[in-house]
Symmetry: C2
C-alpha cells in the first residue's frame, strides 16, 4: 500500500505535465542545455534553497517568486553550463528576461515561471540564445520528454537522475510523484550544485507541500552531506498541479497526508542515493545506520561525520574493516559518546564493543567488504535517536597511501 | 633581533638535551620506531592534546602527568606504528610500563617521563620489545640524534620535520628552541595524527609556557586545518629545561616573554608548514591571507573554509584562477560577508571586486598560478580582523573532472 516505483517513471509521468529539452549552444556540440517543464494548470509550490550567503541570481528570484505566488506556478526552465551566480544586475535582469520569454511563448500569466541555472560561476548567460531556445522548446513539449529534461540539466553528472512513484491514497484513487535531479558526488556530493525538481498530480496546499518537502529533504538530500557545504545554486522545488482531481492534502498527519509524505520521501531518497552512486569513480555504495543516539539530531551528526571522513572512505575502498577510523570520526563528531557502550558492525560482522576491537578474521572481513554495497551499523548505546545516511568510498589513486597504511 | 633559524637545527640543538632512536620491530625491516628524548635537568612542561572524545591511552596519561608534575619532566618516549588507542586497560597499563622502563633505565624519578604513540588504532603495543628498545636507546643518547628521533616518529610522512631557532633576549643572552613533528597532509593534514615535541633551554614557568604554547599553536597548527577534525593522539608538548641559565620567563607581555613567544611561534609555523608541504602528491603550497574581517575569529573561519575546500584546491592544481570557488566557500564559511565589499587577488592579480569578476586574461592568470607557491589575498572589506593559513592543492587523478570542469 506504500508508494510503488514506476518502471522508467520520470518528471512528466504525473498527469498534466509536459517537458522539452533543447540545445542553446552553452554546452559543446549540440548537447541539450535547456530543459522546460510545464504544467497544464497552476501549481502549488514549495522550495528549499541553498544556505550559502552567496546566492545565484535565479535563487534570489525563485525565493521571492515562490513567496509571492505559491499557488500559481506553471513552468520551470533550467539551463546547464552557466550558473548565473556572481553576475550582478545583469544576471538578475537575465532571470527576468528568461521568465518572461517562457511566459510569452506559452501564453502564461506573469510570475508563473521558475528559473534555475547550473554550471560555471561568474559568467553571464547568453540571453538571446536562451530565449530562442525557449521558443523552440515551447513547440516541442510532450509527456515523454522527462528523461531528456533530466539529461539537459546535467553538468559533471555521468548519467541522468529521475524516477516516479505511484501512491495509492487510503481514501481511494492514486496520485503520481515524479522528479529529476542533478549533482555528482565528488568529495562531498554537495560541492557540485544539487538541483531537484519534483512534480505531482496531487492536490496539496502550499503549506502542506512545504512541510512535506522539508521532511522529505531532511531524510534524503540532507543525508548525503548536502547540508553545511552548499553551492550558490542548490535548489529543491516541488510543484503540485492537482491533475489527479483528488481531495486536497492539507494535513500531513492525516492518512492521505502521510501517504503523500511517504511517496515524496522515497522519491527524494532514490535521487539522493543516485547522486551518491554517481560519485566520480566510486566503487562501493555505503549505508551508515546509527542507532542508540541521545537524539535523532545527534545520530545525524555522528552518521554524517563518519560519512564525510576521508579516512573511513579510503579504508572502505580497500575493503578494510577499519573500525578505528569510524570510532575516531565518532569521537570528533560532537555527538554524545561513551566508548564503552559503542558497538559496530560492518556488513553484519561485529567488529567493536566494550571499548575494544573484537577478535575477527581480517581476511574474512576483507572478503565480506569487497562488495558493491557496504552497511555500517553503529549503535551508540545511549538512547533512541537514529538515522540512516548514504555515502560512497574514495576509489582514486590519491587514496593509495591511506588505503595501504595498514598493510 | 627576532628569532634566527639555525642551519640543520633540531630537537637536541637547545642545551642540555640528548636523543636516541632505535628499532623495536614494530615497523618493518629494522626501521627506527622508537625515539627517546632526555633533558639533563627537570623541565617545565606545557601540552595541548586532541579534542577528540576518543583519546588514546598515552594522551590520557600525558594529560594527567603534565597536570600533576608541571616542573619535573625529564624524558619523552615516542613509538610509531601503533597508536595505543582503543586498547582498554591493557593499553593504559602499557603506558605506565613504558614510562617506568625509561625512568629505570635512566635512573630518573617517577612521573618524569612523557609517553606518546602514533600509528594504527586498536592494536596492543609489544611492551617487552619496547622496554628492550628503551634500554638500548638509553645507552645511545647524544646531542646529535635529534634528526634520527624525528625520523623514528614518522608514519605516513615522507620526510622528517624538525628545526631550531636561536632567540637573542632583549636583556642579553640567547636561548634556543628546537622541535620535531610528524603528520602528513592528506585531505586534511589533521586526519593523520599530528605530534610535535618542542625543547628549549630557556627558563620558563609552566603557566607562561602554557600561554606561549597556546598562542603559538593558534597561529600555526590551527592554521593548517588541524582544528575540528582531530585524531585520537594529536599532541603538542613543550619542555623548558633552563639550561641556558637566564632569568625565568614569567610574563609574555615583557620584552623577554615576547621574544620567547615569537621564537616558539616561528618554530611551530615552520613545522606546521612542513606538514602541509608533505601533503601526498601536493604540487603547490598555498598561503591564504584574509583581511578586513569583522574579527580575527571570523577571518580564521573564512580562511580555513577556503583552505579546506576541495573545489578550491583542485582548481589550484589546474592553475585555474577560479575566484568563483573561493567566493562560494566564503559564502558557506559562516563568516560575515557582503559580496559587494569583497576583493580577491591571486598572486597579486586582482580577480574579483564589487560583486563581480574582474576582466583578466585567463591565460596570463594560468601562467601566474602555474608555480610552486600561490598566495590568495582575500579582503572582506568589513573590519580589521585578519589571519594567514596554509594549505596545498589536490594534485591527484581523482580531481581530474574538477580541474577540467572549466575547460
Amino acid at each position: 500500500m506504500g508508494p510503488v516505483f514506476l518502471d522508467h517513471g520520470h518528471v512528466t509521468t504525473p498527469g498534466g505535465w509536459r517537458a522539452a529539452a533543447v540545445a542553446c549552444g552553452i554546452r559543446r556540440a549540440g548537447r541539450h542545455d535547456l530543459a522546460l517543464l510545464v504544467s497544464d494548470t497552476p501549481c502549488a509550490a514549495a522550495a528549499l534553497f541553498t544556505t550559502n550567503k552567496v546566492k545565484a541570481a535565479p535563487v534570489q528570484y525563485g525565493q521571492a517568486l515562490v513567496a509571492r505566488n505559491p499557488t500559481g506556478l506553471r513552468a520551470v526552465v533550467v539551463n546547464s553550463g552557466i550558473a548565473n551566480a556572481c553576475t550582478g544586475e545583469q544576471g538578475a535582469a537575465a532571470v527576468v528576461t528568461i521568465a518572461r520569454a517562457v511566459e510569452q511563448a506559452l501564453a502564461l500569466p506573469a510570475d508563473s515561471t521558475f528559473v534555475m541555472s547550473t554550471g560555471v560561476i561568474g559568467m553571464q548567460l547568453p540571453v538571446t540564445r536562451l530565449t530562442q531556445g525557449i521558443a523552440a522548446a515551447a513547440t516541442q513539449l510532450d509527456t515523454t520528454s522527462g528523461p531528456d529534461a533530466a539529461r539537459a540539466i546535467m553538468t559533471t553528472d555521468t548519467r541522468p537522475k529521475y524516477c516516479a512513484v505511484q501512491v495509492g491514497l487510503p481514501t481511494g484513487g492514486q496520485i503520481n510523484i515524479g522528479a529529476m535531479a542533478k549533482g555528482a558526488g565528488m568529495i562531498h556530493p554537495n560541492m557540485a550544485t544539487m538541483l531537484c525538481f519534483i512534480t505531482t498530480d496531487a492536490t496539496v496546499t502550499p503549506a502542506a507541500l512545504d512541510a512535506a518537502l522539508r521532511s522529505a529533504v531532511q531524510r534524503s538530500f540532507h543525508c548525503i552531506s548536502v547540508d553545511g557545504d552548499t553551492s550558490t545554486n542548490d535548489t529543491v522545488l516541488a510543484l503540485a498541479n492537482g491533475h489527479a482531481g483528488l481531495e486536497p492534502i492539507t494535513d500531513l498527519t492525516s492518512p492521505v497526508g502521510a501517504a503523500f509524505c511517504a511517496g515524496l520521501t522515497v522519491v527524494c531518497q532514490r535521487l539522493a542515493q543516485e547522486i551518491v552512486r554517481d560519485g566520480e569513480g566510486m566503487s562501493r555504495f555505503i549505508t551508515i545506520n546509527v542507532q542508540g543516539a541521545v537524539s535523532d539530531a545527534d545520530a545525524h551528526r555522528a552518521a554524517m561525520t563518519v560519512a564525510r571522513s576521508p579516512l573511513v572512505k579510503t579504508a572502505l575502498f580497500g575493503a578494510d574493516a577499519n573500525w578505528g577510523r569510524v570510532v575516531c570520526a565518532l569521537g570528533y563528531s560532537g555527538a554524545e559518546l561513551d566508548l564503552q557502550r559503542v558497538t559496530l558492525h560492518f556488513n553484519g560482522l561485529p567488529v567493536f564493543a566494550h571499548g575494544l576491537p573484537l577478535d575477527f578474521d581480517e581476511d574474512a572481513a576483507h572478503r565480506l567488504l569487497d562488495v558493491p554495497e557496504v552497511l555500517i551499523d553503529i549503535n551508540l548505546g545511549l538512547g533512541t535517536g537514529s538515522t540512516t545516511v548514504w555515502t560512497c568510498d574514495f576509489s582514486y589513486e590519491y587514496v593509495r597511501i591511506n588505503a595501504e597504511y595498514r598493510t
